[in-house]
Amino acid sequence: MTLPNVWNYWAVVVLMMVGLYIVIAKPNYVKKLMGLSLFQVSVIMLYVSMGRVTGGTAPIYILDDGAPRPFVLYTNPVPHVLMLTAIVVGIATTAVGLALVVRIREAYGSSEEDVVAELDRREVEAANALAAQRAAESDASSATAAHAGASHEEHA
């Protein structure tokens, strides 16, 4: 298990961590999505590495004079096949993510996470303030109404 023999596993870990770091640390949504793609791609390398057999060939029986060779050392094809699906999933995720970023850009005018979060925060605060104002006005008017001897039902 010297480094040259398992370098591909090290590459998997490095790629994965670089991707994860970008997702966490970068404020730009497009960069985050690139990090996410990198993170997913690293898994493809993991699967392909684990299917590899030293000295193995493609899983095809070589025909000598029409007769199948009795023994072929071949690389396990199953992980490769699984990764075809994972690639499709990765592309679909990136496509959905990019589509969302486009929509966010249209709605907020920015694709930076902190700008969007700030806009969201303001929106929530404005709604809270409006509700507080509404409650205060309601209390005030019901107080005057009660003063005038009117019941709550009339307001409803």
Partner: protein, 491 residues
């Protein structure tokens, strides 16, 4: 025909999805989607009620472990029946008010919804580890698009945050499956569990389980990994949040059970890895933090979403006991909470459609105006708390029994204490509805009268939750069989 039921309940929604897009008719798309979900539900119920032992279905006739095997046991049939039924309820009816957030995009909405149902059903019925990942991503990708269809622009950011976290979770699951395959050389559940004994002392096996547990934990919204849930549930279109609240986390929970019980084995997970000791504190924090946050939410849907995080705490607590009684309680609570929470979200949707706003204070004094909806909310809330006579009580009682059987009375005390918090947040809504004067200066209601379409599905679900609370032996007996067959006397 009947031997094809396991695949039919996945295929019907899956193939109806493109049909809906091709037909391009707004009204027809809803009818097709409802029919597809109902057919899928019929298949699931038929299977659940007629099966005498676990059903194995070799896809394409390839024998299991060479080809892909669908495997439905009692617990799987139970979860599949719940998921498809709740899907039918969530989209079948509803008013113009609850459907107006998707006007003009109906075909795409219903197509994505059907894909989501197909993905969740597929996860439940499959016996192949890689299939789990594929179906997980089918349901997740369609969920992101569904959440993004919410009315406000905040739905977009909620969907994108969910996409980031969900993809991380999905990829963790993929890594876990890969490492598991590396150690056992197979993806079939039965074959994995037979071979894992030989490699269970190796670190790669530990890491495989860790990746699977964390990945599913993100999708299940286990306490520190729950950040995506409140945004997604409170911004999604109403039909979607009602559906997701009842099914998405439940299917992930069932999947976690399957990973623990069917793939790795209870003895390995709980005795060697001490997974229970890890999951238990997280569950307790979730029970209290989720319910406490729910108390302080200004909007009805966020309140319900945070309550879901607390309820997931009960589910994982039941699993962390590592006993058959715990599993039984977990499966019961899965069903109970699915029915209750979907009913509550549907009622919330009906209220929001009436007042045109999801802030709690807008509901002030509406209890008299909408007596049936308010009564439904009260009954659903009682079931959420676990008051006797509701299905929530049945599952919480099972959970208490399981905890006491494990000889930990302080856990029972904590469960009761967190239920008190549920009393607080449910009563907060009740107080607003019944005991507050209507807002004097409230903007006019969006609609005067509640359509029957908005409260009939919710009302039926509330009736179910009360009915199953009264005839509690109906769910208890079936789930006991399911837990027993799943656990199989493992410990």
């Amino acid at each position: 025909m009947s031997e094809h039921l396991p695949i039919l309940m996945v295929l019907v929604p899956l193939l109806s999805a493109p049909l809906v897009v091709f037909i391009k008719h707004r009204k027809a798309s809803r009818v097709i989607a409802t029919l597809a979900c109902a057919l899928s539900a019929c298949a699931a119920w038929t299977l659940a009620l007629q099966m005498s032992s676990a059903v194995s279905y070799p896809l394409g006739g390839w024998r299991p472990a060479i080809g892909i095997e669908l495997r439905v046991d009692f617990a799987g049939a139970y979860v599949a029946a719940i998921v498809s039924t709740i899907a039918t309820f969530a989209i079948s009816l509803g008013t113009r008010g609850t459907r107006e957030d998707v006007v003009g995009r109906e075909m795409f909405f219903y197509a994505a919804f059907l894909m989501c149902v197909a993905g969740l059903m597929g996860m439940v019925v499959t016996g192949d580890a890689f299939n789990v990942f594929v179906f997980l991503e089918i349901s997740s990708l369609s969920t992101y698009t569904l959440v993004a269809m919410g009315k406000e622009r905040r739905a977009l950011t909620a969907a994108l945050n969910y996409l980031f976290l969900g993809t991380l979770g999905g990829t963790f699951v993929l890594i876990g499956i890969g490492l598991m395959y590396q150690m056992t050389g197979t993806l079939n559940a039965a074959a994995v569990s037979a071979r894992i004994r030989e490699v269970e002392h190796l670190r790669t096996t530990h890491v495989a389980f860790a990746f699977l547990a964390v990945g599913l934990g993100i999708k299940l919204a286990v306490f520190p990994l729950h950040q995506w849930l409140p945004g997604a549930y409170s911004q999604a279109p109403h039909a979607v949040s009602s559906f997701l609240a009842g099914t998405a986390t439940k299917v992930m929970y069932f999947q976690l059970i399957r990973v623990v019980v069917s793939f790795f084995g209870v003895a390995y997970v709980f005795d060697t890895l001490h997974f229970g000791d890890f999951l238990l504190p997280l569950s307790l924090v979730a029970m209290f933090a989720g319910s406490l946050s729910a108390i302080f939410q200004p909007s009805l849907r966020r309140l319900l979403a945070y309550s879901s995080i607390g309820q997931v705490g009960y589910l994982t607590l039941a699993l962390s006991l590592g006993t058959e009684a715990g599993l039984n309680a977990g499966l019961l609570h899965l069903g109970a909470h699915a029915v209750t929470k979907t009913a509550l979200f549907l009622i919330a949707a009906a209220f929001i459609a009436q007042v045109g706003d999801d802030r709690l204070d807008r509901l002030s004094g509406l209890g008299k105006r909408y007596p049936l909806l308010s009564l439904g909310f009260v009954l659903g809330g009682l079931s959420l708390i676990g008051v006797p006579g509701t299905v929530g009580f049945v599952s919480k009682w099972a959970l208490l029994e399981a905890v006491l059987a494990g000889g930990r009375p302080w856990l029972a005390f904590l469960i009761l204490a967190s239920s008190m918090l549920a009393v607080v947040y449910v009563f907060r809504v009740v107080e607003v509805l019944y005991f507050r004067a209507p807002l004097a200066n409230a903007p006019p209601l969006a609609r005067e009268r509640a359509d029957w379409g908005s409260w009939v599905p919710a009302g039926l679900l509330v009736l179910v939750s009360v009915g199953l609370g009264v005839w509690s032996e109906l769910p208890s007996e079936y789930v006991a069989t399911a837990a027993q067959s799943l656990f199989g006397g493992a410990r």
